[in-house]
Amino acid sequence: MRCKYGLKTEQTNRTQPEEKQAASAPILSVEGLKTYYYSNGTAAPAVDGVSFELHAGEIVGIVGESGCGKSTVVRTLMGLLDPISSRREAGTARLGDIDLFSLRPKELCRVRGKRIAMIFQNPLSALDPVYTVGNQIMEMLLLHEKMTRQQARERAIELLREVNIPSPELRVDQYPHELSGGMQQRVMIAIALACNPEILIADEPTTALDVTVQAQILDLLRQLRDRLGIAVILITHNMGVVAALCDRMLVMYGGVVVEEGSCKEVFSHPAHPYTKGLLAAIPSVAQDKERLYTIPGQVPVLRLPVRMCRFSSRCGCSMPRCEQEEPPLTERAEGHWCRCWQESGKEVPADGENS
């Protein structure tokens, strides 16, 4: 059997915990994904070797701060990178029996929207202001399904009803600016669901929304997963949102996954110093904190090739080895992986006496 601290690198074939493997093969498996940004002739490793799997009906959260590469991962998957400033350097993404990255543009268009749909952070800017919401839902249907305009319109109304929009017959003819932020995000979700995709990518879907509306949208996503069995990749910086919705989570820092595991496991036993720091840095609504823990410094600008732990410059328990060699992802518990040389990292004080 596998040793507890087994090595997990991008090159070795990854195996999932037995019970999951028995339950289902992954519907999406990403291997060794690397995407670099280029400016003035220098390359910045925005995503530098990310691998993960997504199973049917599973909600996986990718969490991290701005610049950690979480959005770049999904933009690479969707083929939405800016071709001038960024490029996918390596990696495969298998959706069933096809590799997303080897598809020709025309084939990719048949996958996008149909098998993988995406919703964006700011619904008002993701909806085209000059077309009605109905038109924008119908557009998706007419692209992928054999339907008449009339059928598509009826289905659009039905979809609006499915995402709990009141009086959908009227809303279908309204323009995005006539709806509230929460309604706009529901419309985005309706568009994404139009062709019954297997995977929904949600890039910060609630960040632009008020907290009571955020709760409604999270609730809607949860219902949709339960009802339709759709798998969700949720990108967020909000640990609370991850905890509220996700089954599994990946914590990213500096373009790599530093910790991965089930939400329950990671929140109760965070292994990586960055995850621990992040959790300790969040003020709590449930209790008073005397002083917040702070992760000192800021995200470093990485130069290639990276030959150190990317977090070492800000880590409270950094060792000489951390600055010479990048640690691999190792398994700390069943399905719980961590990228750190410390076998069981030092505890982070609950109230930050560090600063």
Binding site: M78, G79, L80, I84, P105, K106, L108, C109, R110, V111, R112, G113, K114, A117, M118, F120, Q121, N122, S125, A126, L127, D128, P129, V130, Y131, E139, M140, L143, H144, Y175, H177, E178, M188, I191
Partner: protein, 305 residues
Amino acid sequence: MKRYILMRVLKALLTIWAVYTLVFFLTRVTGDPIEWLTIAGASDSAKETLRENLGLDLPLWQQYFKSLIGLFTGDTGTSYYYARPVSELFAERIGPTVALGSIVMLVTVLIGIPLGVLAAVRHNTLLDRATMSTAVIGSTMPNFVLGILLIFIFSLKLRLLPSGNTGTPLHYILPVIAMSVGPTASVARLTRSSLLDVIGQDFLDCARAKGMREWKVVLKHGLRNALIPVITILGAQLSAMIGGSVVVETVFAWPGIGTLIVSSAQQRDFPVVVFGVLVIAASVTFVNLLVDLSYGLLDPRIRNS
């Protein structure tokens, strides 16, 4: 919306009236038309008779109201020089001007917008840079200078194309080039920058994520949103062109309204000049009205507010 249009039309009429009044009085400052209309050494009594016949003996304010009332009753006055109704003169000359203007507008739209789209989609490539540097030169070159240059090269040196007057389609080539290079360049530049702004927006990514082909994304979602500033500049270009046609028509000896107005101004043929300016002012305000109304058609956010 109907109320809005009505208000705009009223405002437009007010503007046109103001221009009419201004030009009416300004032309009178330029001098006495009688000097032009009579041969040197004509007797004073002959001059006075002519003055009476033309109605120039009346006080200025009477002349003004007479001509204004005439306008409302459909009487545009009589040309001093041609001794024919002004409306008749314009009816003869409007054809070539409208023909030239329409072709120029068509060329501007059909070349300017696609060029701008192409430059935006391929931005920062050689194609983009070449198009845009040409556009800068094009939009800075005054059309009459370009016109003279074209005549010099293609008519005088190469003897390929006629330098002036109308008749065959060949006659259109040089004036159309001279008049459309500037507007086409401006429209191309604006289409490009406006489309580049839109291309950075999330809803294009959203359309791509729906599985829409790239060219359709750019045309359906990109261009329609980018078109509003382009329409504005098109309107401005059309207005400028209507005014500028006076000069270009003169350069190419084009038998249109422009040359008529220029020659009439030289001959102090006031009714023709005043009516000509009126026609130009009316066309410009009409174009601006169309531009404003088209915003509402293009953007529902403007329609509702």
